[in-house]
Symmetry: C2
Subunit: 321 residues, 2 copies
């Protein structure tokens, strides 16, 4: 008779495996990330092993509107880090879509130039059904990279949806990438991501309007009192501006420091929001319709109705000890 | 001595004003929308007056990635509705950004061709600081349009941020606009908005790859079991495909019917989420850091920690009667 629990424990007591992870060995790293991503029994051991060994890697998040050339820029930035003798881990977060149920690989193609470089480890995360799951997996993979001695962990999020913004927020330093041109200067505002930026980039600076877009972004961010967010122009394809971007990120990293505690705090906030969102979606529509009818009939004002929904939602949550 | 409450009541007892609103008169409509938008004392009277008079207008939401030509398409669709003798209200929702604190008008410019047409009433909503406020205002303006005898209310949301998606969800029929080309076909997925679409549009169909993008969108939406979302190609600039789009929206409208109750239910859900988001952001960082430290030290697992945050959040909410 098979005992799956025992055999899982056996495979976890491999003597050389967890030390090899902490020493940054590639095979151990791959195994640890797979364990964490699939939440196997080994994952718990991995998370135990890396505890107390976090805070060395600077976590840099890249996000921005589709078409801004984010992946190409991340690839160029990784190349620059390698020239500076830095070990790099890349977490590419794919959208959580019930349609694909997995990774969309198109944007990953441009990263393959680093595939043969042992100093770069790239992992594309598949969807985990809901935002909370994806956030948690991304955070754990970041921690595994951190503990394994990577100097920089780059988190690239595809697109500008809420999930991507929330995952990018986990990072220590957040880079928001824009493309130049009419209207593009307000893309970042439109998506609500300008507010989270530590560095603003106008990529594809060889295109017209790059200068103007950079000026407009600088003016917009200057309107925020007390902060001066650097605005850089890059051309990832031509390589221009990329060393300056690496310098700017490093300077912010020296000021903000790698901060596993803040990363964990933001992860917890993401998980809470995701749980509340799902609890709200799970409330019976019929109960909400009674309240909607009350609002439409003028028996109930909309504020009172929404508080009553919050009461229902709170009651629907499982009781903690 | 002035009595502001009395004087507000006085101005509200204007005999001809509220009936004029229900008769669809333009000046009364403008006044009602301004009252609702600014939450003046008159707003309450407006909302009372329109109660019981909702459910005639079909509410059509347009959303999609920046650069897809959404505004031009909305303008062409409005023109088509006018040719069909329909009265139209347009609610253009601008991003809620602390940076601008108001309406960004760039995308509105293309609507001005309808400015002189009494059958079209366009209102651009300024930001109200947070998502809940913007959702509520948009829903109330929709209701005012509905009660005033508009046949169709178009809600155009700028960009693809979470707030825009949530506001578009209020609509009876949701149109997601895409631009053709490499990568654009997955923009909708990236932004998480494909899931809410009743109609998918590939605009700028004169550009290369339009056919391919339409096929890919059709394949992606076909993967959802039980639904067959129409995929249309339009060229808003050339006017092609716009009558077919109006036909498709009208067909869905006959099936789904204008539904003020569902609109109100979705509005309430938006308000609840917004309130919970803000309550979470208001929790003291120090309390969250204690939990984050517990997770990092292995004393606390991440699920338990997030439930403890939910407990704190629930305790922080004001008590209802």
């Amino acid at each position: 008779m098979q005992k799956p629990a025992d055999s899982a424990a056996d495979s976890a007591i491999l003597p050389d495996w967890l030390p090899a992870l902490l020493a940054g060995e590639r095979a151990a790293l791959a195994r640890a990330i797979t364990a964490v991503e699939n939440e196997t029994d080994e994952a718990r051991l991995v998370l135990q092993a890396i505890r107390g060994r976090l805070g060395n890697a600077l976590v840099v998040g890249f996000t921005g509107a589709p078409g801004a050339g984010k992946s190409t820029l991340v690839s160029a930035y990784v190349g620059e880090l390698r020239r500076r003798q830095q070990n790099v881990g890349v977490v590419a977060v794919d959208p959580s879509s019930p349609l694909t149920g997995g990774a969309i690989l198109g944007d990953r193609i441009r990263m393959t130039q680093h595939a043969a470089d042992p100093g770069v480890f790239i992992r594309s995360l598949a969807s985990r059904g809901h935002l909370g799951g994806l956030s948690r997996t991304a955070a754990r993979v970041i921690d595994v990279f951190d503990a394994s001695g990577r100097d920089v962990v780059v988190v690239e999020t595809v697109g500008t949806g809420q999930s991507e913004v929330e995952i990018a927020e986990i990072a220590d330093v957040r880079v928001v990438v824009n493309a130049p041109g009419l209207g593009d200067d307000v893309q970042a505002i439109k998506a609500g991501i300008l507010e989270i930026a530590d560095v603003l980039v106008v990529n594809k600076s060889d295109l017209p309007f790059a200068e103007r877009s950079a000026r407009q972004l600088a003016a917009m961010s200057a309107q925020r009192s007390g902060t001066a967010v650097p605005v850089l122009q890059t051309s990832a394809l031509q390589g221009s501006g990329v060393p300056e971007l690496a310098d700017a990120i490093a300077a912010i990293g020296r000021r903000k420091r790698p901060d596993p505690r803040a990363r964990t705090r933001r992860l917890l906030q993401n998980l809470v929001l995701d749980r509340l969102r799902r609890a709200l979606a799970d409330l019976p529509a019929s109960e909400l319709d009674v309240l909607a009818d009350g609002v439409l009939a003028g028996r109930l004002d909309i504020e009172t109705a929404s508080w009553q929904i919050i009461d229902k939602l709170v009651s629907s949550l499982p009781k903690q000890k």
